[in-house]
């Protein structure tokens, strides 16, 4: 018994450890950070730090402090920020990372290196590109939202759910950043100063590791995601299906994609690459102001029109991708995987231009709400 007692005491002393404790009271958690490129090539980091003020009654109040610093590397700016705040800087709970447009146009890996290298960093943080400067988005005062990180995080999550963005985090883009023949997109945000809001503005197209400066707009984003088989929880699209409506509103129909299935098939002949993208969707018509969807003929007509519109829109997407060589479908990687000899011949900088895309979109309208 005595022996066991000793064991317990030894365990208690040894197991607690005292070298590596990091007390919450000693750190300031950074929940949102933004990087911008200065004109001279330095990095400007802006962070928002929430502090909870303890009040004598009830829950504490939260204050947000926004600090920024300019330095040579992100780590350098971190240290500089550290010198400006009361406690030490901790990025281990980072939720959202914003990258300014100009910085994103450069190689994206170097500013992120510090996150990949530090074991404490949270690679699960969401990442987005901001049109203009990232610091503006973080400095934005929003009355209704207590925290900018919550706002941004919620916004990005909602975009992920509605198939507007692939929901990439720091870790998930990394493989695509390095792998040749495969590129990625990041959600693009825009600061609306007048309304004091941040808006989702489509998807920023990346080529290799840098932002091409071209974007997919919101509707293209949804279709691109569907073509790539990355449907979120819901997906909706509105199309003009007729011209003869009395009012403008009557020309449109909104579809809700219930289930979608996409197949990308890459074939080659010589050095010509053809990508057949087969998208099969089961949709509900959830808004059709013109109404009268009672006859099979009418439904068929809409279906035909939708198919036309979708195909046309996907052609526009492909044109944009070819223009920027942003291979979000990973066509190049597929060529490398299945036709390595062809891949060796291709010009890696501009190969997408010569790829022929054949979209084949099939839709099934299965419901049109509780009225006709």
């Amino acid at each position: 018994m005595l022996k066991k007692g000793w064991l317990v005491i030894i365990c208690i002393i040894l197991l607690t450890g005292c070298w590596d404790q990091r007390n919450f009271k000693n750190v300031k958690l950074v929940l949102t950070a933004g990087f911008d490129l200065m004109e001279d090539g330095q990095i400007n980091t802006t962070v928002s730090l929430p502090t909870i003020l303890r009040s004598s009654d009830g829950a504490g109040q939260e204050r947000i402090q926004v600090v920024s610093a300019i330095g040579r590397t992100p780590r350098d700016t971190r240290d500089k920020i550290d010198r400006k705040i009361s406690n030490s800087f901790a990025a281990s709970k980072l939720e959202v990372l914003l990258v300014g447009e100009e910085l994103a146009k450069q190689d994206l890996y170097p500013p992120l290196d510090v996150f990949y290298r530090d074991p404490r960093s949270n690679l699960n943080a969401k990442i987005a590109v901001v049109k203009g400067e990232a610091s503006e988005a973080i400095r934005l005062k929003i009355e209704q939202e207590s925290r900018i990180s919550k706002y941004l995080g919620g916004l990005l999550q909602a975009m992920e759910n509605t198939t507007h963005s692939p929901g990439e985090n720091l870790q998930l883009i990394c493989a695509e950043m390095f792998e040749p023949g495969q590129d990625f997109v990041l959600p693009l945000l825009r600061v609306n100063e007048e309304a004091s809001l941040i808006e989702y503005d489509g998807l920023a197209l990346f080529n290799e590791r840098s932002y091409t400066g071209k974007d997919l707009d919101q509707e293209e984003a949804v279709l691109m995601m569907l073509l790539n088989g990355q449907k979120g929880k819901t997906a909706r699209m509105t199309f003009k299906v007729r011209e003869d409506g009395k009012q403008r509103i009557m020309n449109y129909a909104t579809i809700h994609v219930y289930r979608s299935n996409s197949r990308i098939n890459v074939t080659t002949s010589g050095s010509n690459v053809t990508a057949d993208i087969k998208l099969h969707m089961r949709v509900d018509v959830i808004e059709y102001p013109k109404n009268h969807l009672e006859t099979v003929k009418e439904v068929k007509k809409i279906k035909k029109e939708l198919k036309k519109q979708l195909t046309q829109k996907s052609e526009e997407i492909f044109a944009k991708l070819k223009d920027t060589n942003s291979d979000v479908f990973g066509i190049g990687r597929r060529v490398a995987a299945y036709y390595p000899d062809v891949w060796k011949q291709l010009d890696k900088k501009n190969y997408l231009e010569n790829v022929t895309f054949n979209p084949d979109i099939e839709i099934v309208i299965q419901q049109h709400g509780i009225i006709n």
């Binding site: 450890g17 070298w19 590596d20 990949y116 690679l123 699960n124 792998e179 490398a336 995987a337 299945y338």
Partner: protein
Amino acid sequence: MKDSRRGNNSQPRTNTSRPNGNQKNQKKQKLSRRQFFFVIIQTQIGVGILSLPYDLHKAAGKDGWISLIGAGLVIAVLLILIWLLAKRFPDKHLFDYIGILLGKFLGKCVSLMYSVYFIFVASLVLILYVRMINIWILPLTPRSVLIVLMILAGLYIASSSITVLARVYTILSVLLVFLIIGFSYVLREIQLIYLFPIGTEGIMKILQGMNAGAISFLGFVVILLVYPVVKGTDKEKLWTIMTAHGFVLFFYLFTVFISFTFFGSEELKLVPAPLLYMLKAFEFTVVSRIDLFFLSIWIVSVTTSFTSYLYMSGIGFSSLFNAKRQLPALIVSAFLILFVTFLPGNEEESIIKFSTWISRGGYLFSGILPIFILIIAWVRKKKEQGSESSC
């Protein structure tokens, strides 16, 4: 306390246990085959698992998994040879019959070499473990504290009998299930295309990768020491050995497969501990940073393989000096391990050198020497007398 447990056979339903086997063997308790299985896998799966995909990829590129299968097949053949050796002496372990086969002096020499080898492997396990912990979670904790704690834990487990060791390993194997479940979570983000094109890295690279693969299987030497205390016929034991090997191969393949398809060929070059690293990308509703949880589970795997090596070197030393009790030998081993652990220092380069040498030693002690001993046994037609009647 021990006596009260003795009757409590941990596997009462084994139908192969000899009649009255349990009562007759009052002196020496036997392991069930299930325990044997877990002793093998827990010794094999250890410190290397986190970096295995990286090592394979470094040697054989994206065809590393082919190398792993190749290595697994080679090891399977080796295991049959080891089984042939072990079954010639159903009541003796390696250090017992080494003297009979090689002569007293040479036998002692080889026993000593084996013990020293086990000590070096145990130190290597400790060094790699401490490095990983230092990088990932405890950057400020002194190395010595982590080392001493691990040695104490190992010593505590190894100081009991082999039965206790086996029971502990069996219980701890539940954690492997958690590992598999956790890694399965990654399956949602993998891209199979990263494995293609298959077989383009060239046969030379794949063969080189087999080296990295084979190293990860070392640890099966434990079979030579534990074999005589396992219940069952030779055939049944062979079956156990093979299923254990199959399990480890499957487990490794699974981890390699998900890390290759998650990271892709280019990023994997940058990530020396891919299995942990990929978990950093995920978050459950309540728990984020699952990599830290997995690190704790991994520590248990490290402890078990460390303990095995400590135990084996303990057996080696006690048989070397014909000691009746094992504890003094274990303590001596523990101190030697502690000493050796500080030899290569902190520098990355010297640690790599140290680990290369020891893995080369693995070929000698797990491959060449057992085969050599087997050949001698064949040539000299040495077999344990009356081996058929004993169990």
